[in-house]
């Protein structure tokens, strides 16, 4: 009997630096499986963000560039425009993409740049140590919101998939989650679809993934999954916000 489950070839065999219970590992795996299945590893370039996933290139056996905070979509634009034959993806967190990198992601999406963005939304800054993000929930505690996010002073959390879904330029924009096995299966399908749109040269593709951060939430991995399901999913509704087929 052959192996039923093994490490995707696009992932390296390395000790992870991600915290116990962090969902980055799941999403890394889904991206790597997709790249293997599409047979595109030899022409793929990933772009690492600033944040916990800055070291993503330690786990992917792929060409990689490392961006400054928030600038990954501009770098991806540079690569994809001069080498349209390459498959380019950015992998960004919510501080990186929804705060400092808001300008870059909106304009790359609006130009219809034909690359893929994987956006990890765990409602907090991870690597810098649990500061408030634009995606932090009302009342959610963070080191820079010690009594909980005050929406009078900081506004409501930004819903990136909703925002990008409003752009008129054709794109694939979806929000998925990796809190339950069914969600993970759906997220995999969405990520694969996102890369397929790129391989076909059709449009910009964006997969928001509702994730966890047990360390900075101060919860156990299991409690984090439950907290995210109860608090994030009602606000960050899952589903497709835009597909190129409808345009």
């Amino acid at each position: 009997m052959g192996k039923a489950f093994s490490r995707p070839e696009s992932l390296s065999q390395t000790m992870t630096h991600y915290c116990p219970g962090c969902t980055h590992g799941i999403v890394h795996r889904l991206v790597a499986e997709t790249i293997d299945e599409l047979g595109i590893a030899g022409r793929t370039v990933g772009i690492a963000p600033v944040g916990c996933a800055v070291l993503a290139y330690n786990y992917f056996n792929l060409d990689f560039q490392e961006a400054a905070h928030g600038r990954a979509p501009a770098m991806a634009t540079g690569i994809k425009r001069v080498r349209p034959d390459l498959i380019v993806f950015t992998y960004q967190g919510d501080g990186d993409l929804a705060s400092i990198g808001m300008g870059e992601i909106i304009h790359a999406a609006n130009r219809g740049e034909k690359f893929t963005t994987i956006f990890i939304n765990n409602a907090i800054y991870g690597m810098t140590g649990g500061q408030m993000a634009p995606t932090t929930m009302p009342g959610q505690r963070a080191t820079t919101a010690p009594t909980g996010r005050d929406t009078d002073a900081t506004g409501m959390p930004i819903r990136m998939a909703n925002l990008l879904g409003e752009l008129v330029t054709p794109a694939y924009v979806t929000r998925q989650a990796v809190l339950k096995p069914q969600q993970i299966n759906k997220a995999k399908k969405a990520i694969k679809k996102a890369f397929e749109y790129q391989v076909e040269g059709r449009c910009f593709s964006f997969v928001e993934v509702v994730s966890t951060c047990p360390t900075n939430w101060g919860l156990t991995p299991l409690d984090s999954l439950k907290w995210a399901q109860d608090n994030l999913i009602p606000y960050y509704e899952l589903g497709d916000y835009k597909t190129p087929d409808e345009d």
């Binding site: 022409r43 800055v54 060409d63 425009r81 001069v82």
Partner: protein, 355 residues
Amino acid sequence: MAKVLMKGNEAIGEAAIRAGCKNYFAYPITPQSEVAEYLVKRLPEEGGVFVQGESEVAVGYMIFGAAGCGERVMTTSSSPGVSLMSEAISYIAAAQCPAVFVNIVRGGPGLGGILPSQGDYFQATKGGGHGDYRLLVMAPDGVQEAVEMTMKAFTLAEKYRNPVMILGDGLIGQMMEPCEFPDDLKTEATNKDDWATNGMDYRKSDKRNLVKSLFLDPTELNNNNLILKAKYDKMRKEEVRYEEYNTQTDYQVLIVSYGTMSRVCRTSIDLLKKDGIEVAMLRPQTLFPFPEEAIYNAATKENCKSVISIEMSMGQMVEDVERSVKGQREVEFYGECGGDIPSPEKIIEIIKGLL
């Protein structure tokens, strides 16, 4: 080939194409928007790429991405725009990618003005962005030299895997002069397979490449900085360029001036000669590396009494001139930087005051 009459900004765009650069990303800013307006028409004819970015910040990273996957790439901007690009420039230098940045300098600080200035000397030669990096900086004194320096910039950027900056000014960008595009300055792009993220299939390798600037281990970071320093030391040895004017005479004053300002100084030197006053000029063509030794030698010539740095700034290059002269002569300074270029008569008055 025959000479053509071209505006500096357009000639810089054409020079990039002639040098084999087919990729241009930019954001509009006066006084250099004509480069983009020229290239948006020319690049499609060459099968090239033109992208107007949403900001100079983004453009900096478009350049980084394109350079990181091994393609020749250029952007042009002016002072406030270059401030915004400086973040990316630091990353590009750290990650050792070749790229060409053109700064058609306007008056500053702040929004400043749109007229010519040399107020970005410090930014270009001493940093601008964070960390221990340098740019190879070339300063043309007219359209022809802007063409030649732009064409050479791609070869130099690849030789050193480091960003190269052309430091012009609003006058050089806006004026028309006859120019030609020397065929021998067109070079083949170097093979970048050993480091660029150009795709494993493309370079027929199963070893992936990584373009990055993060070195969390202090020894690794120090080593990366030592690699950069070794390149800058090599530039100091191999890339210093300058032009001497009237140095064969027994001059009493040595002017150090570059770019547009040096052209005015040349006229002043010619006029002073008619009055029997000999003044020489050393014009740095590279601002980094700086022609320290040549300035020292010219300054310490027997009859040379003083040295003056004349700039369209409030005194920036003068610090490098002082450093070069090593206290052997008095180093004076004259500068204006509102956008009006000092006249030859004004320079003559300043020089006579030194005699």
